[in-house]
Symmetry: C2
Subunit: 212 residues, 2 copies
């Protein structure tokens, strides 16, 4: 394939699950791209060139031949639209709909888990206080959805890997990697997802020391 | 067109902007459907048949020939996939990506506006306290994005109406309809969007009195 002009902007700590989702998508699709880091601690997403590019002033942003796009699920959809060779969304219309449901839900619900088990748990090994009642309730909700969607022993949600598998596994791993109780089927699923070479590429990024 | 078996579940007050987004989409596409209400005040979304259908226990849920799907943006994408005659997403790949970015952003950001100007402002005429500093900051962010995307005097974001026009107009109208200051270009856009017949159909739904 001709070299494409793809630039990916991620947080400087490589802890954004949304940046990770796009990074993994680009690798799964076999696309060449350059990675640039944005220092969120210095509010760099709100200033100058990046703010103008990102529009919504969040990471990740992808720039493709001059077109700048933010919001990870919009980016991964765009990449499947523009580079349909290897897709990260299911081809079956109902599975694709379910994958989009999971992505939208993981980005707009379960807030107590996202706060009390932030992704420094996964990427820096941080250890935090026990879960609040609200976070325990959110975890029950997560387990209910996971148990309902995942077939026993299945590696993926829909038979073939898709980007919602990564996003769901990340949410589960916020708990698993902290040592919180997680149903075995879900813990096994998240563990297997984490073996994926494209996931390991993100895990192995050089991360700066955490600021106090 | 053959009658399709489409069932839409919305909140009993018709105040969910996400239920509205699907309702308007179904009407714009000329699809016949039945509306069912779910009493969120009684936590009906968490119990029995609806919880099982919705999976993520939120409204709206669409059931199409036995397939139950929640999360409004997943539903509107599904409807364009299955009924491609009249689409609610742009055909141009970059416009479609931008529409998805806006939808994802409106569903995961701007939380202070969503809380301090909840949609009872729009659907019940509720009047609430002045905006906090955090909400004013979110409003500035909203204005920046709107001013950047909307051409002067344009009725729509991308030349032809799409579902992101409604979603963006609703966010702006949380402020406009409360009497908060909004840049004229954005207020005019939101006002014009509200004249749309499919939007008026939702506005005109019979709403129960608000509970104390
Ligand atoms: Ca930093
Ligand atoms: Ca299938
Ligand atoms: Ca009620
Ligand atoms: Ca265009």
């Amino acid at each position: 394939m001709e070299k494409q002009a793809l630039q990916l902007y991620v947080d400087a700590q490589f802890t954004s699950p949304y940046a990770m989702s796009v990074f993994v998508t680009l690798h799964e699709k076999g696309l060449e791209f350059d990675v640039h880091t944005v220092d969120l601690d210095a509010n760099a997403q709100h200033t100058g060139e990046y703010a103008a590019k990102s529009l919504t002033q969040r990471v990740p942003t992808l720039v493709h031949n001059g077109f700048a796009l933010s919001e990870s699920s919009a980016i991964t959809e765009y990449l499947d639209d523009v580079f349909p060779g290897i897709t990260v969304y299911p081809k079956d219309v109902r599975d694709r709909a379910r994958a989009r449901q999971i992505q939208a839900w993981l980005r707009s619900a379960l807030m107590p888990i996202r706060v009390e088990r932030n992704t420094q748990v996964i990427f820096y090994g941080s250890r935090l206080a026990p879960l609040s009642d609200a976070a325990k309730e959110a975890a029950q909700q997560l387990f209910l959805v996971g148990e309902s969607l995942l077939k026993e022993g299945a590696d993926n949600l829909f038979g073939t890997w898709c980007i919602a598998d990564l996003d769901l596994a990340l949410m589960i791993n916020r708990l698993v990697m902290h040592g919180d109780d997680v149903p075995e089927k879900l813990a096994n699923f998240a563990h297997k997802q984490w073996q994926r070479p494209t996931v390991q590429l993100w895990m192995q990024q050089q991360r700066p020391a955490l600021q106090a």
